[in-house]
């Protein structure tokens, strides 16, 4: 019985340590950098000081071994090894940890068992990369990897009501249901072309317990597929056609062609033309078309074709020459005017003059904004004045406000090159719209190479800039908000880079971090009282 009690106490300690480390310690360091490290080290030294001397080594060794062991199991799991390899990999780790724990840490057998059990259980129950979510979200559902190949790192994702049931569905791409995984050692492509990757539309709906793929007969795949943000994975080496991404070149031809160095840009251009002409063939020469706009206003049935943008402003037909290729969205301009945001080499707002004729009222050129080609643009009323702003996500993220007379105001500019706006929706209990963003931590883990962006909810404040409402130190991509389960509150849908797993996250309003902090204070208080009463021994 006493052994069971001892085991339970060590398990409890591991649980407390696990969540405190990922939800208090790591955020503090990521947010405050060196100051965070100093604060954490200070607190840790103080807490260590309160542990009775005879237990000090045991507690420290247990804590360090548990966190290291968990990290090691997590890495093994991430490496997608076979079961045998996992077992073979885990055995030396367990033996090493048990050895250090027993002979150096003087840990009792119950502690060693608790240590190993706790580290093993974190993987199926709550892997370390998902723990930071808990600060503000509960994981409502996670998909298996929807894509089985290796060629593509991520696919586009949209959250919209597909079947009019009042709940939003997840629209994305994958092939896990359609393709058999390659057998061990099977060659991917005997002719050394890049592999053709069958890719299908996946529409996932909430069935009350989980997300379930909708039957393809229940929607129009072309119409729903068009709701996905345009993406060109593998461009120009891959082109979409007939539910597959098909290679336009072989590995051999690419290597040999590029080694005719002078021809390299000519070959790149030839591939671009091949790829784009295939896209144009499929669309009948239409560069972009939208019947309705997300920020719906008077503009509808818009098309860009043959160097013209055409469509309707209310019932009035318009046509205007353009170099744009993309219909971004509708936009509400100052003084109640309606605009259409178009993206070409520049970003343009098309509106109408007093006689109803189409005119370009605003233009953001490459001379005004660097990196237009690598930027994404979305529309939102960030300052809440009834007119919309343009959110620019790129290495030069900004919020632009169109003013009357074709002028622009810059409401906010990022000071780092990694900030991205992802979506605009109400997620907090304030019911105000938030700018759901990915922003970098104060700690740059790998300068210039690898920047982790963390999920953050901001509101725009004219005085202060972006006011942070919440932040979870989890690195996600393609974050979209939508009411997945129809309960009237928005969930977040997102993916983790290269995993092709879709996460549905539900916002909770539990004070997780405060609870952990208070628990820590109570434990510290208890330990301090003990020390006052019984001294250091």
């Amino acid at each position: 019985m006493s052994k069971l009690l001892s085991f339970s106490k060590w398990i409890l300690f591991a649980v407390y340590l696990y969540f405190t480390y990922h939800l208090l310690v790591t955020p503090l360091i990521l947010d405050l950098s060196y100051l965070g490290i100093i604060l954490v080290s200070g607190s840790l030294l103080l807490l260590i000081g309160t542990i009775p001397r005879r237990y000090r080594r045991q507690v420290l060794v247990f804590g360090i071994l548990f966190l290291l062991m968990d990290k090691s199991f997590y890495n093994m799991d991430k490496a997608e090894w076979s079961v045998w390899l996992l077992v073979l990999g885990a055995i030396p780790v367990i033996l090493l940890v048990a050895g250090i724990g027993k002979w150096y840490g003087k840990l009792p057998a119950t502690a060693l068992v608790a240590l190993i059990v706790a580290a093993l259980l974190t993987i199926p129950l709550m892997p370390r990369n998902e723990v930071p979510l808990l600060s503000h979200f509960m994981k409502k559902w996670t998909s298996e990897p929807l894509y089985t190949g290796k060629m593509f790192d991520y696919f586009p994702l949209a959250v919209q009501d597909v079947n009019g049931d009042g709940k939003d569905e997840i629209i994305t791409l994958g092939n896990v249901d359609e393709t058999e995984p390659l057998a061990e050692g099977e060659q991917e492509d005997k002719d050394y072309r890049l592999p053709t990757e069958p890719i299908y539309l996946y529409v996932l709906a909430w069935n009350g317990k989980a997300m379930e793929r909708l039957d393809e007969d229940s929607y129009d795949p072309n119409e729903i597929g068009n709701r996905l943000p345009k993406d060109d994975p593998g461009f120009p080496y891959y082109v979409w056609s007939d539910n597959a991404l098909r290679p336009t070149i072989s590995r051999q031809e690419l290597a040999e062609g590029m080694l005719q160095f002078g021809t390299a840009p000519f070959r790149a251009m030839a591939l671009n033309i091949e790829n784009i002409s295939e896209q144009l063939k499929q669309s009948g020469g239409v560069l972009d078309a939208a019947d309705q706009l997300e920020h719906g206003n008077g503009f509808h049935d818009i098309r860009i074709e043959n160097g013209n943008v055409s469509g309707y402003i209310h019932d009035h037909y318009f046509e205007l020459p353009t170099t744009a290729t993309t219909i971004v969205d509708g936009i509400r301009l100052p003084e109640g005017k309606e605009g259409l945001l178009l993206l070409g080499n520049d970003l343009e707002i098309l509106t109408h003059d007093s006689e109803g004729n189409p005119v370009i009222s605003h233009r953001l050129t490459r001379q005004m904004l660097k990196n237009v080609a690598a930027s994404e643009f979305s529309v939102a009323d960030a300052d809440g004045d009834g007119a919309d702003e343009i959110l620019v996500s790129s290495s030069y993220s900004r919020i632009f406000k169109p003013l009357t007379g074709g002028e622009w105001d810059i409401l906010w500019t990022a000071t780092d090159t990694n900030f991205r706006f992802e979506d605009v929706a109400s997620i907090s209990d304030t019911n105000r719209e938030e700018l759901i963003s990915l922003s970098e931590s104060e700690v740059i883990i790998h300068p210039d190479r690898f920047h982790l962006r963390f999920l953050t909810g901001y509101e725009y404040d004219p005085e202060q800039g972006l006011k942070r409402n919440w932040r979870s130190f989890i690195s996600l991509i393609n974050v979209r908000a939508g009411d997945i389960d129809g309960d009237g509150d928005n969930e977040l849908v997102a993916s983790i880079y290269k995993t092709h797993r879709i996460y549905v996250l539900e916002r909770h309003h539990l004070p997780v971090q405060a609870t952990l902090l208070i628990t820590t204070i109570i434990l510290a208080g208890y330990a301090i009282t003990r020390r006052i009463r019984y001294g250091a021994s």
Binding site: M151, F152, P236, M258, F261, G262, L466
Partner: protein, 315 residues
């Protein structure tokens, strides 16, 4: 005493908790400087000698002893909105026999080896595999002369050292449509019919711009340095005719004004293509190559027999 310590610690704890809560409850991201960020345009001047320099540089790369083997590294990076697709290439060229390519396409690595009529390709899944024939013949200098029809519009940018080698920098800008129409090369001849057949493709090309920049070495050698160099290449420097032939073959050009020989290797080559993409704005695509460590004695390639051993290992 112990009590006082404990109280002091309690106070420290309170301070830490206050800071902790402040961090966890919220921060702001103040705006940076609210200004537009114009793209800087470099200083340029006319470059009447662009056509001639292009030919000299290609000839130098073709014939100079030092350019028979070298290292290279480069990539094609396509930026379309947030999507960036890269292919990367680096390795060595040993003329006239072959080359080694360490490549990545769309972040998937592979390797390619060529030596005379032997071709091998490596992927993680397949290991080394022998290929029957080549699809594109070895000709590292092919394509540079394809820019000649546009050389009359070249501009000169400020000189710039590449890996400490002083270079003249030439730039040619062209519209996509004229690039495809005027550039006499077999690749574009094939593609022209595709452009004509596809509705909307001409409009895409009319709105495409291409900007090529070439860094041509501008190194100077005194007469003595050239003689030393020739002697190292087993040239009898006492035999003026043999020396002159070697100088001629290596395209060392006597500059009367500076009293030095000039040598013009190609060190860097970059092309930006700015091109409309349906429903995705415009693409910025960079094709970049750098050539370095010319005639490096460290350049060694495995023989085909050694490569065959790899195949046996794999089998």
């Amino acid at each position: 005493m112990a009590h006082r310590n404990i109280f002091r610690r309690s106070r420290n704890i309170s301070v830490m908790i206050a800071v902790f809560m402040l961090v966890l409850t919220g921060c702001t991201y103040p705006s940076g400087e609210k200004v537009f960020q114009p793209t800087e345009s470099p200083d340029t001047r006319p470059a009447e000698d662009a056509s001639q320099m292009l030919s000299i540089a290609v000839e130098t790369m073709e014939h100079a002893d030092v350019a028979q083997k070298f290292w290279y590294s480069g990539w094609v990076a396509s930026h379309i909105q947030k999507r960036q697709v890269n292919s990367m290439f680096d390795g060595v060229v040993v003329r006239p026999h072959g080359y080694l390519v360490n490549a990545r396409v769309n972040a998937n690595p592979y390797r390619y080896y060529k030596w005379d009529d032997h071709y091998y390709l490596y992927t993680e899944k397949s290991g080394w595999v022998k290929l029957e024939k080549e699809e594109v013949p070895m000709d590292p200098l092919a394509g540079f002369e394809w820019w000649q029809p546009f050389a009359d519009r070249a501009v000169r940018l400020p000189d710039e050292p590449i890996l400490s080698k002083n270079c003249r920098v030439y730039q040619i800008e062209a519209n996509g449509q004229e690039w495809v129409e005027l550039s006499a090369n077999p690749l574009f001849e094939e593609i022209r019919s595709r452009v004509q057949e596809t509705d909307g493709m001409e409009h895409i090309l009319q709105n495409t711009t291409v900007k090529m920049t070439l860094w041509i070495g501008d190194e100077s050698y005194t007469r003595e340095q050239v003689e030393d160099w020739a002697a190292k290449n087993d040239v009898d420097t006492d035999n003026q005719e043999e020396l002159d032939q070697w100088i001629e073959r290596n395209r060392l050009i006597w500059n009367e004004a500076e009293q030095v020989y000039k040598h013009h290797l190609i060190y860097q080559y970059e092309t930006w293509i700015n091109m409309p993409v349906p429903s995705a704005g415009y693409m910025d695509q960079q094709t970049f190559f750098r050539f370095y460590k010319f005639d490096d004695p460290g350049i060694k390639m495995k023989s085909p027999a050694e490569m065959e051993a790899y195949l046996d290992d794999e089998a």
